[in-house]
Symmetry: C2
Subunit: 249 residues, 2 copies
DNA sequence: CAGTGGTCTAGACCACCAG
DNA sequence: TGGTGGTCTAGACCACTGA
């Protein structure tokens, strides 16, 4: 007798343009999130799931491996597949923009453009973007607010070949969203996080005392080829913001 | 005519206990790291590789997908598989211990145990470790040095069922290494990074002025089931240390 | 021992892309 | 139009686990 998943059973659509493995992956994820599969509980074996859905075991494998990757389940040879225990908070293991972050915390994001224009790249910027010193880059300096309160200063440098205008940025608000509209997709990057003292500019714009502790994030974002798109230095008021990340190895 | 990978050709061993997909994955990774495959260069198709190594296309797939996951290559339907551009620095996308980190930067790690003993868990600690308030936990407070210079204060709380003695910790130096010896493997976790002002204790131990900016890392480490193992609050002198991470989505 | 996941086979059809 | 990767099939053998 095969062990079945969920009651009433999950329906999958073999004629859907959505891949079968993806349908199953999302269905199981949903059962876990709804608590219909408890932490530590065993889920049916590959073979049982393959029979239940009348698909190939390899397709089931693909779905389950995806869930392992996302941290929802873990597998032990000879024993079975089990629902992993996850902290409720912080499923934030992906690149997010300021806009997405602030919305996720329940605040209203807004911004003010302090500078928008082309400048020659200084050595640190040139190195980050993999360009020669002095190459023209687009610099966008913005003050960012969460529900009217100033929280961060963003200083972004972009490769010059990106067709972005000040007006478009004002209209959209989110730089990453704007890039996505132009079919430039951020798929990776490197973050460096430091603690620094507020300088006069930060002090003035962010309403903190000079010398106050600040969280500074320097990020290089990359497209799927690994080529750098943007180098941004974001400085946050301590206390308001902390950086959270879920790691796996 | 099939396109071949590398000259002289790579050898794989079908009788090795090392899985075929893993042999191929490591071989290609090695070619990239040695620069024998240039950034942006196309590598042979699945079918060609399958023929070259005389294995199934699905096995080649598994190897290539692993390399995509690690960010070494990217694939485009209809076009091919290409070597991704990766910044040389910071391949640090995994959980590392203080000891590993400091060694990686070329310093000599050492430590001094300031406290070692059982205490009742305060609410924040209990929540992090998923225990009831007041449960006994093992608290290990350490001052950490890089080449004699004090750089951080570590305050770790561990679930009480872990058989660790002060002497073992002194002998090993690295808590994660000690846990690994006892067959407890850290496979994931959540990091939170903040910027804070130094309090009197930090000021005294780390030789900084009271109120100076500090980088604070709060980490919950988990075993493969997702169960919390350790909650640690590590406070670093700003300037010495920054937190680096490579992200993918 | 029977059942599990890990690896592997030898193909298939399709959507997508460049020429 | 031919080649690519994305998805999928219908199995196989093995190492490992718990009973």
């Amino acid at each position: 007798m095969i062990q079945r998943l969920a009651n009433p059973p999950i329906q999958i659509d073999k004629n859907s343009p959505v891949p079968l493995y993806h349908q199953i992956q999302e269905a199981i994820k949903s059962l876990i999130q709804q608590g219909k599969l408890q932490v530590g509980e065993r889920i049916p074996s590959e073979n049982d799931l393959a029979k239940q859905f009348d698909i190939s075991p390899m397709t089931v494998r693909q779905a389950l491996n995806g869930l392992v990757q996302e941290g929802y389940i873990y597998r032990r040879r000879g024993r079975g597949t089990f629902v992993a225990q996850r902290p409720v908070k912080h499923p934030l293991d992906r690149l997010v923009s300021f806009t997405e972050e602030v919305l996720a915390h329940g605040f209203e994001p807004s911004g003010k453009i302090l500078f928008f224009g082309h400048v020659p790249a200084e050595p640190t910027v040139a190195q980050a973007l993999n360009l020669a010193d002095g190459t023209q880059v687009l610099r966008i300096k913005r003050l960012r607010f969460a529900s009217q309160s100033p929280v961060s200063l963003h200083d972004a440098y972009l490769r010059d070949n990106l067709p972005i205008t000040r007006e478009e940025l004002k209209a959209t608000g989110s730089l990453y969203q704007l890039l996505a509209q132009k079919n430039i997709h951020i798929t990776g990057g490197v973050d460096e996080i430091r603690s620094i003292s507020a300088d006069d500019e930060m002090s003035e714009h962010l309403h903190v005392k000079s010398g106050a502790p600040m969280l500074q994030l320097r990020r290089i974002t990359e497209d799927r080829t690994g080529a750098p798109i943007e180098y941004v230095i974001a400085t946050y008021r301590a206390g308001f913001y902390h950086y959270t990340i879920r790691l796996k190895r």
